[in-house]
Every structure is written in structure tokens, then in C-alpha cells.
């Protein structure tokens, strides 16, 4: 049976982020001029004053390079972004490519934050984690080409995962807590209201509307969302593995609902990537690495593989 390597969560993070960027490039490529050019929907007069001077921007780069043709400029930027994302996906020159992706994202975000939404913020955060964490060490071409085969340090890995986990808990707690005072969330009609907005209309809307028009279902969906978000940061840490698995699956299901019923596929995808890169360990166990005692092996960097769970229990 296929066994997952220790630190596979970092591969989930890297691959998930790369797929998100490739999808973003694919859906935005034909509308780049409309969205991000100086004569697009957010014109210079509006985007320039909102731009901050201490961060790189698309305008700053095109001015620096004296590029007049916005169409060529934007297409070139997005082609570079797509190539970098593709290489990030397979893990070739991972650090360099994640840096290119992050830099491009920063420039677009700074110039056009007026038309940014939740997905962009989360992509930004996860790209930063891809850069500072050793995402090049798990399931990558870089790792295959590394003759020294330096493995992940188990202690450091738990520190990295801990950071992603705490960040995710802050996200859900904030999202849940900020809804607690809302009338629509309290009276159980928030989901009914959300699925009825024209922006979130999909092929599934009539079906969901026919179900959610019954108060008991609307209340269950609304309070279920509220409960999942507010309780997630607490229940995900408790010792009982089944409860942890249930809360993780619930929150992933919530994002699948958002993708399918409300049409926010990119946002849902990046949140599922965030969830699984933080807590996939609850659902899928990996091979563990154990540090070999120095007297057994003179090389302090060498590690011994121990298969789980049977062998791990016997250690």
C-alpha cells in the first residue's frame, strides 16, 4: 500500500497552492486587460491612489521598465506566473518559483486590492508559508535531485505545521465570532439570504432553495456553519481522534458546499488546501522518522524510517 512520507502536508500545501494559481491564471487570462490594465475597470485614477509606495506594484514595474503596451505587459506577467506555478507543482526549483509567484501576487494585490477578495488573501498567506517552509523537501523533483537526501527535521516539521494550524484556528474563530452578533445568523436565515444573492446563483441554487425554504433546514445550515467555525479551534485539539476527524470533515464539507452551491470554487479550494495542509495528519497517517542515537551512527543528520502504526507502537 502507498505510504505517505513524513511532512506530506507540505506537499499538499505546495501542490494545492500551485493548482490554485494555475486555475487563477486560466480563468483570468482572457480578461486581464479588463481587470488589471490602466484602462480597465479600475482605472489609473482609482488604482494609483490606493496603491502603497513601499510595496512592489504592477504600475511601478511597468513604469520602471518603460512598458507602454499594457496588453503585452500583463500577458507576459501571467505567462511567467503560469510557468512558475507549473514548476512549483512538480517541485522543480521550488523556492525560486514560489518566490516568483509570491512577488507577482504581491504586485497584483497592491495595485488592485480594490477588486481582491477572500481567495487572494489566503493565497497570499499560503504562498508565504510555501516560501519560508521546506516545501522543496517532500514529493519534489528538487528532492530527487538532491544527492545528499537531507530529510526533514521532525521537530521543525511540527513547528511549521503548528504555525499553519494556529493560523487556521485564528481564521475560523474570527469568522465564527464576528457572526455571533448578526441578526441573520442568530435567527437562522443567513444561509437562506446568502444562497438567494444573485452573485452566488449556480445550477444548484433552485434545488438548495427548495430545501432551505423550510426553516428547520435553513436553521440547521446556518447554525451548523456557525458552530463549525466557532468550535473548530477548540475541538480540533482535543485528544479524541474521532471528534477531530468529524470537525475536520465538517469544515471541508462546508467549503465543498460553498464551492458547489455558491460558486466560490477558488475560495473553497484554497481553504480546503489550508485545512488539509494544517490538519491532514488527523485523517492520513504518514511514515515517521526517528532520529538515530549518535553512538549508533556518527552522522548526526541520519534518520531511520519506522513504519507506522504497528512499529511505532512497539517503540
Amino acid at each position: 500500500m502507498f505510504k505517505l512520507k513524513e511532512g506530506y502536508q507540505l506537499a499538499v500545501l505546495r501542490i494545492g497552492v500551485a493548482i490554485a494559481i494555475l486555475t487563477k491564471v486560466f480563468v483570468e487570462f482572457s480578461e486581464l486587460d479588463l481587470m488589471y490594465s490602466r484602462n480597465g475597470i479600475v482605472q489609473d485614477v482609482l488604482s494609483r491612489p490606493l496603491e502603497v509606495s513601499y510595496v512592489l506594484s504592477l504600475h511601478g514595474l511597468s513604469d520602471f521598465l518603460h512598458i507602454q503596451d499594457q496588453h503585452v505587459f500583463l500577458n507576459s506577467i501571467y505567462i511567467v506566473l503560469a510557468v512558475a506555478a507549473l514548476l512549483l507543482l512538480v517541485g522543480f526549483q521550488t523556492k525560486l518559483n514560489v518566490f516568483i509567484c509570491l512577488l507577482t501576487h504581491i504586485m497584483v494585490f497592491n495595485s488592485y486590492n480594490l477588486i481582491a477578495f477572500g481567495f487572494d488573501g489566503f493565497l497570499f498567506s499560503l504562498l508565504f508559508y510555501c516560501l519560508i517552509f521546506p516545501t522543496h523537501k517532500v514529493y519534489t523533483i528538487d528532492q530527487l535531485m538532491d544527492k545528499k537526501h537531507r530529510p526533514l527535521d521532525a521537530a521543525q516539521l511540527s513547528l511549521f505545521l503548528g504555525v499553519v494550524q494556529v493560523h487556521l484556528c485564528i481564521v475560523y474563530f474570527t469568522a465564527g465570532y464576528s457572526k455571533l452578533g448578526g441578526q441573520e445568523w442568530m435567527n437562522g436565515t443567513a444561509i437562506w439570504k446568502a444562497i438567494n444573492q444573485p452573485q452566488f446563483y449556480t445550477a444548484f441554487t433552485p434545488l438548495i432553495k427548495s430545501l432551505a425554504c423550510y426553516p428547520v433546514i435553513s436553521y440547521a445550515l446556518t447554525w451548523g456553519t456557525l458552530l463549525a467555525e466557532t468550535a473548530f479551534p477548540f475541538l480540533i485539539w482535543i485528544k479524541w481522534a474521532k471528534v477531530r476527524a468529524v470537525i475536520l470533515i465538517s469544515i471541508v464539507m462546508m467549503h465543498i458546499f460553498i464551492a458547489v452551491v455558491m460558486g466560490l470554487q477558488l475560495f473553497a479550494w484554497i481553504m480546503i488546501v489550508f485545512d488539509l495542509s494544517a490538519f491532514a495528519g488527523i485523517l492520513f497517517k504518514a511514515e515517521t522518522v526517528k532520529k538515530v542515537k549518535p553512538e549508533q551512527d556518527p552522522d548526526p543528520l541520519s534518520y531511520q524510517l519506522i513504519n507506522t502504526p504497528a512499529i511505532r507502537q512497539s517503540v
Binding site: 481587470m35 480594490l114 438567494n196 444573492q197 452573485q199 432553495k209 425554504c213
Partner: protein, 157 residues
């Protein structure tokens, strides 16, 4: 030592995530400015209050354009039909006041003028979509309504 510094940095990063989330109110302006700078380089410090405290009504912009061939074309913005429209709708929802609606209307007119070259006047109607209640939907007595909050007629010079 290197590990300790990195650990310290990660803890500081999580502190900015917590502070930026809005759970804790920041009153110090210079601290807020520093946090903003850090956020724009690292992505750590955004707010996460989606659909809160309430879902609210989405703003939609409808345009009625008389083309050069004297045909009436109707377009809607903020309905999330594609990536461009989804992104534009987040700009529409950011500011909800008459001045912002006026500014957005001008932006939309400039787009319409590219879509329908040599067009005539453009009538713009900005409004909120208010859905029917669950009872009304079950009874089939009423459907959602568009409530206008701003309108204007524009020409492109």
C-alpha cells in the same frame, strides 16, 4: 541560535495574524501602520470576518444602453457570472454611499463605451437585491426584488 530566531519570527508572525484578524482592537496608529506594512509583504494580518455580522444584500449595477443602431442593451454587473464580474462586485460592495455609486457608475460607463462603440446615453441603476422570505418562496407569492439606491444617465465624451 538560528532556529531560535526563526522560531521567534514565526511567533511574531502569528501575533500579527491575530492582531490583523480584528479580534483585538488596535488603537495605536503607528502600530497599525507597521502591521499594514508587514501584511502587504507576507499576507499575515488580514481580516477574516466573512458574511458578518450579517450576510447583507449584494449591490448590483444595471445598465440600459442605446447602441448606435438604436437597440436597447441591458447589462448587469456584480452578479458573479465570471471572474471579472466577481472581482468587480467586490469593488461595488466595498463602499456603500452615493459618492461611491456615482464613481462606480462612471467606471461602468467607460466599460460600456468600449463594449458598444459610439453608443448613445447610458442609464445606470444601482440597487440591492432583497430576496423573498422562506414563507413567500414556499407559497410562491413573491419573488426577490431589486431596490434602487442610485440612478443616473451618462454619456461618454
Amino acid at each position: 541560535m538560528k532556529n531560535l530566531i526563526f522560531k521567534g519570527f514565526l511567533i511574531a508572525h502569528l501575533c500579527t495574524v491575530l492582531l490583523g484578524s480584528g479580534l483585538i482592537k488596535i488603537t495605536n496608529k503607528s502600530f497599525e501602520a507597521a502591521l499594514c506594512r508587514y501584511t502587504l509583504w507576507t499576507g499575515g494580518g488580514f481580516g477574516y470576518s466573512f458574511f458578518s455580522p450579517n450576510v447583507g444584500n449584494q449591490t448590483v449595477i444595471k445598465t440600459y444602453t442605446l447602441t448606435a443602431r438604436q437597440q436597447l442593451k441591458i447589462d448587469a454587473f456584480g452578479t458573479g457570472r465570471n471572474m471579472f464580474d466577481s472581482r468587480f462586485s467586490s469593488a461595488i460592495h466595498t463602499f456603500r454611499n452615493q459618492k461611491a455609486y456615482e464613481l462606480m457608475s462612471r467606471v461602468v460607463v467607460s466599460y460600456i463605451s468600449t463594449k458598444y462603440p459610439h453608443q448613445g446615453p447610458v442609464f445606470i441603476s444601482v440597487g440591492e437585491y432583497k430576496p423573498e422570505s422562506m414563507e413567500q418562496y414556499r407559497a410562491g407569492t413573491k419573488s426577490g426584488k431589486f431596490y434602487e439606491v442610485y440612478n443616473g444617465t451618462y454619456t461618454y465624451n
